[in-house]
């Protein structure tokens, strides 16, 4: 029990922080109220430090993922906190400042906004700790439910409400689908414990093939979770939601649910394993295999469609946020390729052939780089007729930004090149790992499609580079928001993107941590060990939740 508390320490810290933020954010005094953000940041910092020192959890299907995933959540979360400054209540607080209104806690959103943000991150951390389908389901819902509210209240505009509703309804549909998948998976294996499922599936595969009900459950779960990672066929909401929500919230939506979805997918796929022969039966422990055929085909189709649809539609956009939304879909497709490739079967092969490690590293890099691009959007604004400032979103607004607002312009240029994966920026190394792991798994066709898609992506990322860097500014320079921390978040992420050029050891450490996090014990190795002692265990009850 106490060991479980150690594992969950970051979540507990975040939860306590959330409670404090909820109270502090409603305080009548402005000085105390504005502490909500620093307190949230402090909580994340403590959670991150605790996460790094978390031991491996042998009960988990991805035993080593916790330190990396939680530290990544806390780290990117810190950048997001900086970016979220001033998202809600800006005009209200300004009116209170001017003395036009009296402060009334009922009319403010600050407390719940930051609290929801922390709740969502707590959910993400819980996803990484999940050992059970029930736990995983609750964690995924905890990630999503707050984000629906955050998208809705992020601006006072009607478009945010529309975005929130679209997000919520498709989210509910996705949740229903993966819940049904979980139910079938439970039905097909008789347990909700992920390791139990892994052993049951390995046993079924060894004796003639995986139960079709379990198989249907896995596929439904994957399709349902594809909502969270913004993959085809559940990608429709992405562009609308990212455009409708305020830019800082969009940056968060591009990272938090996506990471949660990928970690959940990793957990479920790890229960199936990557060592099946094309016929569906397990290979010997050292054989190089792949996912069972039907899952493989489903995922490969999703991956190819996702990156192609994302990239092609991104070409047509005029809105920066929509463009980034479609590019986020494309990045999901790239990562799916490495997810299909799976971890290396050979021991100690290193990050270069560890697909799960590659996905985890890519998520970190994508999260950081993406925050840079959204930070630029979040920093630019133009006063509207109704007195409220609205953020700029047209590609044309970036014109000549490197001259008019050099810092923001260069952040955009560097981060767009990073997302494009131009060497030697951080994005290149992340994409390089996707390439190596997929080639290691023999997925040459997927790699070629991935390469071609990266080339298509160059079309629209170049727009994000040329407009600020090469064009002459037109008209008035866009105004910037008064929130310095947003600019700081952008600069920080651009600096991180550039970090890969200099051998500092930080990128190296992140890669190694991702590699460790993505290492799993292949199911059939344990299954084989178990079958040896199966006689002794015959009377033991099926593992259930209260074990």
């Amino acid at each position: 029990m106490s060991s479980l508390l150690v594992l969950l320490a970051p979540e507990i810290v975040l939860f306590i922080t959330t409670c404090i933020v909820m109270i502090v954010g409603l305080w009548p005094k402005l000085e105390v109220r504005s502490l909500a953000m620093p307190i949230a940041g402090m909580g994340l910092l403590i959670a991150g430090v605790l996460a790094i020192n978390t031991p491996a959890n042998p009960e988990s299907i991805l035993p080593n993922i916790i330190p990396y995933a939680k530290a990544m959540t806390a780290g990117v979360g810190l950048l997001l906190v900086l970016l979220l400054a001033g998202t809600v209540d800006r005009s209200y607080e300004a009116a209170v400042e001017r003395g036009e209104l009296r402060f009334n806690p009922i009319h403010t959103n600050r407390a719940e906004f930051f609290a929801f943000f922390l709740f969502s991150l707590t959910g993400l951390m819980l996803c990484a700790s999940a050992t059970d389908l029930i736990w995983l389901f609750l964690a995924l819902e905890l990630v999503s439910l707050p984000t629906y509210v955050m998208a809705t209240i992020s601006t006072r505009k009607l478009r945010s409400q529309e975005a929130g509703v679209k997000y919520f309804f498709l989210g509910a549909l996705g949740a229903a689908i993966f819940l049904y998948g979980f139910a079938l998976l439970y039905g097909g294996t008789g347990t909700t414990n992920l390791i139990g499922i892994r052993d049951a599936l390995a046993e079924q595969a060894a004796s003639g093939g995986i139960n079709p009900i379990a198989m249907a459950g896995i596929i439904l779960s994957l399709i349902g979770i594809s909502f969270k990672i913004a993959a085809v066929p559940m990608h429709f909401y992405t562009a609308d939601v990212y455009q409708g929500a305020a830019a800082p919230v969009s940056a968060m939506l591009a990272f938090v649910p996506k990471t949660a979805g990928f970690i959940a997918m990793m957990g479920i796929l790890a229960a199936v394993g990557w060592q099946y022969a094309p016929g569906g039966e397990t290979l010997a422990a050292d054989g190089v295999g792949t996912l069972p055929r039907s899952i493989y085909v489903t995922l490969a189709a999703i991956a190819v469609l996702t990156m192609t649809v994302g990239n092609v539609l991104a070409l047509l956009q005029r809105s920066i946020k929509r463009l980034l939304a479609y590019s986020s879909i494309a990045h999901t497709g790239y990562m799916l390729v490495a997810l299909i490739a799976g971890p290396s079967i050979a021991a100690e092969a290193g990050i270069t052939s560890n697909g799960l490690g590659a996905v985890l590293f890519y998520l970190l890099v994508y999260g950081v780089t993406n925050i840079g691009t959204f930070a630029v959007v979040a920093c630019l604004e133009r006063p509207q007729p109704d007195g409220e400032a609205d953020e700029l979103d047209d590609l044309e607004d970036l014109r000549g930004l490197c001259r008019t607002r050099p810092v923001l312009g260069w952040v955009m240029v560097i981060c767009a090149l990073g997302l494009l994966g131009l060497p030697p920026l951080l994005g290149f190394w992340a994409k390089f790992l996707l390439f190596t792991s997929a080639i290691s798994a023999g997925e040459i066709a997927l790699v070629v499609i991935l390469g071609l898609n990266s080339a298509i992506a160059a079309f629209y990322y170049l727009k994000l580079v040329t407009l600020p860097l090469l064009e002459e500014p037109e008209g008035d320079a866009p105004a910037t928001t008064p929130f310095a921390s947003r600019t700081f978040a952008g600069v920080l992420s651009a600096a991180l993107v550039l970090l890969a050029i200099i051998p500092t050891g930080i990128v190296d450490a992140a890669m190694e941590a991702a590699d460790r996090a993505g290492t799993i014990v292949p199911a059939n190795i344990e299954a084989i060990e178990r079958s040896i002692t199966a006689e002794a265990l015959r009377d033991e009850p099926t593992p259930i939740i209260d074990r």
Partner: protein, 562 residues
């Protein structure tokens, strides 16, 4: 030669660029010029330190600076004779490009010179890289400076040109990356550790990977070769994927065109020479007729297009496509004659075509047109310019005594010999798959080349003076009618080198002979007897140079280190 001098050659331009950005705009060109001159001097020092008697070996022997240990990646530099020559070419064109831009670049000066110097760092990086990722990083990174140079400082249609340039090259090279990674993976997982040093681990060293790559099956080699070919052929550019080049050249500023023609195109041929051919010799031999065909089509087709050009810069751009066809043809002759000729061609083309672009830029600065309908008979008004023009056109067309001749001749001769059809004749034959047909077809390209170049000279230089309507000298008072001292100083070193290389090519040929010989022997050994259409052992012993082995040994698995 110490590795630190190579590191300095990469880092110094970056430092120069940082310095340019830090200093006021007025000093930018001076700083850039000094920076590039220091680089050139360092390059010459490196060339003197270089042990030319051992030019076939990478120098220094070992060089490792850890970069990303998690990937097993370190920065590893070194040069053999071929790399050294190309580095020198790059460094020579550096100050020339800077000096050539003094009067033409008026706005956003700091940005211009900063990117120009950064570009130089990336190009040097490509040539001295000994690990595949440093090569690839630099290869890709050249895109950004060139993209910026074209799209800010180019002429009217510059943005489309820059975008096309970027997308073509980026698409090609990302597929090349997939091929290279396949080789890396193959070495890491399919090679037994005891096979050779570095086998069985994630190594990025070119030497190691070359050993592993030749052990791939012919099918694998075919795919990897195709991937690399896509990447490098776009850069060369080879016939069907050449369409970005004329556009990029026409729109680029003068110095951009010079760099583009002088060095950037050579990254493609260098990639073919360093990676595609030695990594996958079996596939290189199999594909050689196909690539030879593309090269010949490029030579003739681009030559014919040149003939109908009105824009003189576009004409020279298409002539680059044609010339690089010879270069590729020489490479795929797969014999010492052809490949040395090809490497020579890389250098010579950089000198003479670079100079032609400079000359055209100088006229453009004065008349703001490049149309041959509007310009003509400039000999009357610009005698010095006309002298240089005629000189470099002759060099480019391959007049004996100037540099173009020797390399063009060697490429054609190598191609001619590269088959066993002439075995026993006085011309001699080497193992190869191209042969006289290719050489004769390409030879028509030489004639076409001479014709369009002379036609251009005839229109531009001789005849009655034609100037564009409304041309007014007083608008360009800062430039003299004819070339000024700076412009002459820019052109003179190129002219001298063209003459020297034309008359005494031996030192350069000697320098590149050893590494080229190594490559050729390597390809013959590992591409094996497939070089012969008729693999009768008797003929092998009869014709083979020392390196060729018998069929049993030529099997990829058994073909070990030399």
């Amino acid at each position: 030669m110490s590795e630190s001098i190579l590191h300095v050659l990469i880092l110094l331009p970056i430092a120069t660029a940082a310095f340019i950005v830090a200093r006021p705009a007025g000093e930018a060109k001076t700083v850039a010029l000094w920076g590039s001159l220091i680089s050139l001097v360092l390059g010459v020092v490196a060339a003197f330190q270089f042990d030319w008697s051992n030019a076939g070996a990478m120098q220094p022997e070992v060089s490792l600076v850890p970069w990303l240990p998690a990937l097993g990646l370190s920065i590893s530099v070194g040069a053999d004779g071929v790399s050294m020559m190309l580095v020198l070419l790059t460094l020579l064109l550096g100050p020339i490009c800077v000096a050539a831009s003094f009067s033409s670049i008026k706005h956003r000066v700091k940005t211009y010179y900063a990117w120009l110097t950064v570009l130089q760092a990336a190009m040097v990086g490509v040539f001295v890289a000994r690990d595949i990722l440093l090569f690839y990083v630099c290869f890709e990174f050249t895109l950004i400076p060139m993209f910026v140079l074209i799209s800010i400082y180019g002429s009217s249609n510059r943005k489309a040109a820059a975008t096309k340039f970027f997308l073509y090259t980026f698409t090609g090279s990302i597929l090349a990356l997939a091929g290279l990674i396949y080789v890396i993976w193959f070495n890491a997982t399919r090679m037994p550790v005891e096979a050779f040093a570095g086998a069985g681990e994630w190594s990025f060293q070119i030497d190691t990977l070359r050993q592993a790559a030749v052990r791939m099956s012919p099918t694998e080699q075919g795919w990897v070769f195709a991937a690399m070919l896509l990447g490098f052929a776009v850069k060369v550019p080879l016939f069907p994927v050449h369409t970005w080049l004329p556009l990029a050249h026409t729109e680029a500023p003068t110095a951009g065109s010079v760099i583009l023609a002088g060095v950037l195109l050579k990254l493609g041929t260098y990639g073919l020479y360093r990676f595609a051919i030695p990594f996958t010799p079996i596939a290189a031999v199999d594909f050689a007729p196909f690539i030879g065909l593309l090269a010949v089509i490029g030579i003739v087709f681009a030559g014919l297009i040149c003939w109908v050009q009105d824009d003189v810069k576009k004409l020279v751009a298409y002539s680059s496509v044609s010339h690089l066809g010879f270069c590729v043809l020489g490479l795929f002759a797969l014999n010492t004659m052809g490949q040395s000729g090809s490497v020579m061609y890389m250098i010579n083309h950089g000198l003479s075509t670079g100079a032609l672009f400079l000359l055209i830029g100088m006229v453009y600065e004065r008349y703001h047109t490049r149309s041959m309908r509007e310009l003509g008979g400039l000999a009357a008004k610009m005698p010095v310019w006309s002298f240089f023009m005629v000189f470099f056109v002759m060099a480019s067309a391959g007049l004996p005594g100037l540099n173009g001749f020797i390399s063009e001749f060697m490429c054609l001769m190598g191609t001619f010999q590269a088959s066993d059809t002439l075995a026993g004749s006085s011309i001699g034959a080497t193992p190869g798959v191209l042969g006289p047909v290719f050489a004769i077809l390409a030879g028509t390209g030489v004639v076409i080349g001479a014709m369009y170049l002379l036609m251009m000279t005839g229109k531009m230089v001789w005849g009655p003076l034609r100037e564009p309507k409304g041309h007014d000298h007083h608008n360009h008072s800062e430039l003299a009618d004819d070339l000024n001292a700076r412009e002459i100083a820019v052109l003179t070193p190129l002219a001298v080198l063209c003459l020297v290389l034309g008359l005494f090519p031996t030192p350069v040929l000697k320098g590149i002979e050893a590494p080229v010989n190594d490559t050729v022997r390597w390809v013959q050994e590992h591409g094996g007897l497939r070089l012969y259409r008729d693999p009768a052992p008797a003929r092998v012993t009869e014709l083979s140079p020392a390196g060729v082995v018998t069929p049993e040994l030529a099997a990829p698995a058994a073909g070990g280190e030399r």
